[in-house]
């Protein structure tokens, strides 16, 4: 075999490897299933209960925050809006925007990271999700939080992440009331999770002991469930 023949063989071999790559696409989910449990365990271990460092307020990048929507933009009437909190709680709640505004307000200037690869620094303000869950007298039997949205987007979180001090039910973005496209009147935000975990137009919170069949709109399509940052 001379050098030219070998080169041909190499090119042929590598292109068949790429063709093999197409057949390998069918194995993606199996690779994920085999490796995600360990990865998620490590992610949960890495994630402390303390705050992660925040950005200076002047670092926000409003233009960099792209809008992704699963099912259009639902318009919610602020007057009729209620946040339902139920499940494993001692005191189920139905909170209007006034009740949320009466709780302690917090701001978190964080990097909002999308699974697609882009990121934007955003200042989210609102109440701590932990404060709402404590107000509802969260049961020690609770392990997961299911989040329903007005556009039928669905999410589920581990409670440790939900109780993180920087996990907010945000009503404001970059100092102004939350725009409809970004989840008005109430959305979930946290610097410790990828963007698709941060549901917009949140209308219902349910505390459960176990995860059900449905783990999330995108998770059920193949995205990671823990999705920690």
């Amino acid at each position: 075999m001379n050098r030219r023949q070998l080169l041909g063989l190499g090119l042929g071999g590598s292109s068949s490897l790429f063709l093999g790559g197409c057949a390998l696409n069918g194995l993606s989910a199996a690779v994920g299933d085999a490796t995600q449990p360990l990865n998620e365990r490590i992610e949960a271990l890495l994630q402390g209960q303390g705050k992660v460092p925040e950005f200076r307020p002047d670092k926000v990048e409003p233009a960099a925050l792209l809008v992704n929507s699963f099912n259009g933009v639902p318009r919610l009437d602020p007057e009729r809006y209620r946040l339902q909190v139920k499940g494993l709680v001692g005191r189920p709640l139905s909170l209007d925007l006034g009740a949320l505004a009466a709780l302690p307000q917090h701001t978190c200037v964080m990097r909002h990271v999308c699974v697609e690869g882009w990121a934007a620094v955003v200042a989210w303000s609102g109440v701590r999700l932990a404060d709402v869950l404590r107000l509802a007298q969260l049961s020690p039997l609770g392990g997961y939080l299911l989040i329903d949205s007005a556009d039928s987007y669905f999410e589920s979180w581990d409670l440790a992440s939900a109780l993180h001090p920087q996990t907010l039910l945000a009503t404001h973005m970059n100092g102004a009331p939350l725009p409809a496209a970004n989840g008005a009147p109430v959305r979930l935000t946290a610097p410790i999770k990828l963007g698709y975990k941060q549901s917009k137009w949140v209308t219902g919170l349910r505390v459960t002991a176990q995860l059900g069949e449905r783990r999330g709109t995108w998770e059920d399509q193949g995205y990671e469930w823990f999705a920690g940052l």
């Binding site: 989910a29 992660v52 697609e116 690869g117 995205y223 990671e224 940052l229």
Partner: protein, 201 residues
């Protein structure tokens, strides 16, 4: 023996297995990485040009992430083991300052090629380690914020640390392609087809 030609020399099995394994893991990481790239091109964002499907692995974003994060642990272990074995028993393959001098001044062509090859080999390890570090900084920017903030050095020029991270993590692919090409060419000069077969068969 079916072979009629002169006896074909072989590298030890573990060397060949390791070498082949490296290649497979790198191809998986690069192809699945390019699949992730296509979800939001680093250059141009949503309107940017995407990588042809031929070079991607996973089929769509979640599939690409399955492969990329499924193999990252293997990749890190592999690289760690490789480095440990090199330092332990093959230290002479690593480049050193003398190689730069030899490259410039040595009258012997084989000596210059050996020096070039040691530098290429060492650069490969550095690029691979860098891909691991920049990948970790992007995978866990909240938990490893200190790692991510190292990439803020171009902020005075208007390049955010996130964009810097994305560009530098991506840049490890073309860097490795060039280094692997140099490695193949230099190996060919040393042993040609015989060496290639000794290393793969």
């Amino acid at each position: 023996m079916a072979h009629t030609s002169a006896r074909q020399p072989h590298h030890p099995l573990w060397t060949r297995a390791f070498h082949g394994f490296n290649l497979v893991v790198l191809l998986v990481m690069a192809a699945s990485g390019l699949q992730i790239y296509n979800a939001n091109p680093v250059f141009g964002g949503r309107g940017g040009a995407v990588v042809p499907e031929l070079f991607t692995l996973g089929g769509w974003l979640a599939g690409g992430r399955d492969w990329h994060f499924g193999f990252m642990g293997l990749y890190a272990l592999n690289l760690g083991l490789w480095l440990a074995l090199l330092v332990q028993r093959r230290r002479r393959r690593l480049g050193e300052l003398g190689d730069l001098t030899a490259l410039k001044a040595s009258a012997s062509a084989p000596r210059r090629r050996l020096s070039a090859h040691r530098i290429v080999y060492t650069l490969m390890l550095i690029v691979l380690a860098f891909s691991l570090i920049s990948g970790l900084a992007m995978y866990k920017p909240a938990q490893f914020w200190w790692l991510t903030s190292l990439f803020a050095l171009a902020e005075p020029l208007g390049v955010t640390s996130w964009q810097m991270l994305r560009v530098s993590h991506l840049a490890t692919i073309p860097a490795m392609v060039l280094l692997v090409l140099a490695h193949v060419v230099l190996s060919w000069r040393v042993g040609g087809l015989r060496l290639l077969r000794a290393m793969t068969l």
